[in-house]
Amino acid sequence: MTSPRKIRLSTTPTPEALAELQLGDIVYLDGLMYTAREGVYMRALEEKANIPMELPKESAANFHCSPAASINKDGSYAMGAVTATASFRFAKWIGEWFEKSGAKLIVGKGGMSHQTYAEHFVPNGAIYLSTVGYGTGALLGRGVENVEAVHWHEELGLAQAMWVLKCDNMGPFIVASDLQGNCLFERENAKIAKGLEKVYEGTRPAVLKRFGETDDRSDELIG
């Protein structure tokens, strides 16, 4: 058994640094990272609100996350644990977000499909980092040196707000796509699929079927 490679990476990474990364590498981040989930995309892309940061100069790292945190009465922040939310749900916004934000690192849970990588990540020279676990919330929380700002919390609520986190050796994250658009999760799925027929031996499909049902175990449910 071999241990994966560990690498420190800036949240405004150079193309060379990104080219170095291989599927399965473990990454620790330094610099500013902002969170963005449904609320931020709807507000920035559908309602065309101005993004309250200078992107990608300040940060090229988009975190599909909302932290366990609160805003104190004096305006300071109590930051607890930090973990990601499943990224596939944001696929419909990702192309436009790349255009607006110039992001190079998309950080989240579970990766995205190889189609999304090919269509949006590769042309933008971006890669996907997955959180580990899920989730190593306390370890990632330790990596947040400071909360620099929380944008749109009044409009979107704390969970959907845009949190700007200053990362100091924040990790671990796993490289789940590379600049060529290869997908770590799909590589693992393919290896596992080979053994599934044997695992299913002696089982039986249900007598009452459901719409859209598949017995192709290589199928994925995300889209």
């Binding site: 609160s70 579970g110 799925n189």
Partner: protein, 320 residues
Amino acid sequence: MIRIDLIQSTAETLMDKAAIEIPEDYLEGLKAAAAVEDGDLSSFVLQAMLENYEAAKEDRRAMCGDTGCPRWYVKLSNTAQVEGGPVALEAALRRATANATNGVPLRPNRVHPLWRTDHDNNVGIGAPEIEYGFEPEPQGDWIDLTTVHKGGLFGTDYRMLFPSDGIEGIKRFYLDSLVAFGKRGLACQPAIIGIGLGGSKDTCMVLGKRAACLRTVGDRNPDPKIAALEMEFKELGNSIGMGAMGFVGKSMVVDCHIEVGYCHTGGMQMSVHAFCLSSRRAVARIWADGRVEHRTDPEWFTPYQRRETVEWGDAMMAAE
């Protein structure tokens, strides 16, 4: 009479403990899984999780950034009385949920399903859920508070099976649920898998969820044939070839618990639930004399909860 202020302060402590401290039974189960895991990436993930539990306890911060949806299981002894009655009890649990959300802090996950209104405190319409049970033993005036902060939008499913589907059909649906939601680790495995069989659609879901969240790793169903099925299903889940995060490995299932309820003669309802790597549960018993005893085993599924017959001896005698 059980004091209401003690209920609220204990509930706040439980919210904190559930979010931060991995229960010992789950921790031991995960360590056992990590000891035999030989997939490179899966092993790395399990080691990182073990470090994460330590970091959470050291820093007193939540284990996971998604702190789940807090809910309450309340059990009362047959003679217990709560100061202010059940309405005061529910108010205390709602206050504790809101206070702890800002205090720990937890993530305010709960929003209106359509308008996405967020009170930033995990309280809203129907939230937190509060469910009740009653118990003839042990005698005395006590209340058990169990909080579970189950996470996860993935890993749970329901299906109406039929008697002709048999065990082979149950196995198929079990495997389908693990494979489908295990990919990319969406189920946050290795998990405690709870299976509900029978009841009706809603009770089947309730049984499966309680099987996952209210029984500890290593606990077996008292029906020896169901207990054997639990062991078989644990092994089957771990033979898929999938580990943490959907990487190649053999740790999907830390334990499998099955609960049953009597159902319509033509059906065999089945639900599958996954209680994730951050299996958040904490329990305390509060006595009328002010004693508070903390533990991590909800001890929910007692002989009384699983009773099969019309009458229950002690309850009958007390009524006479």
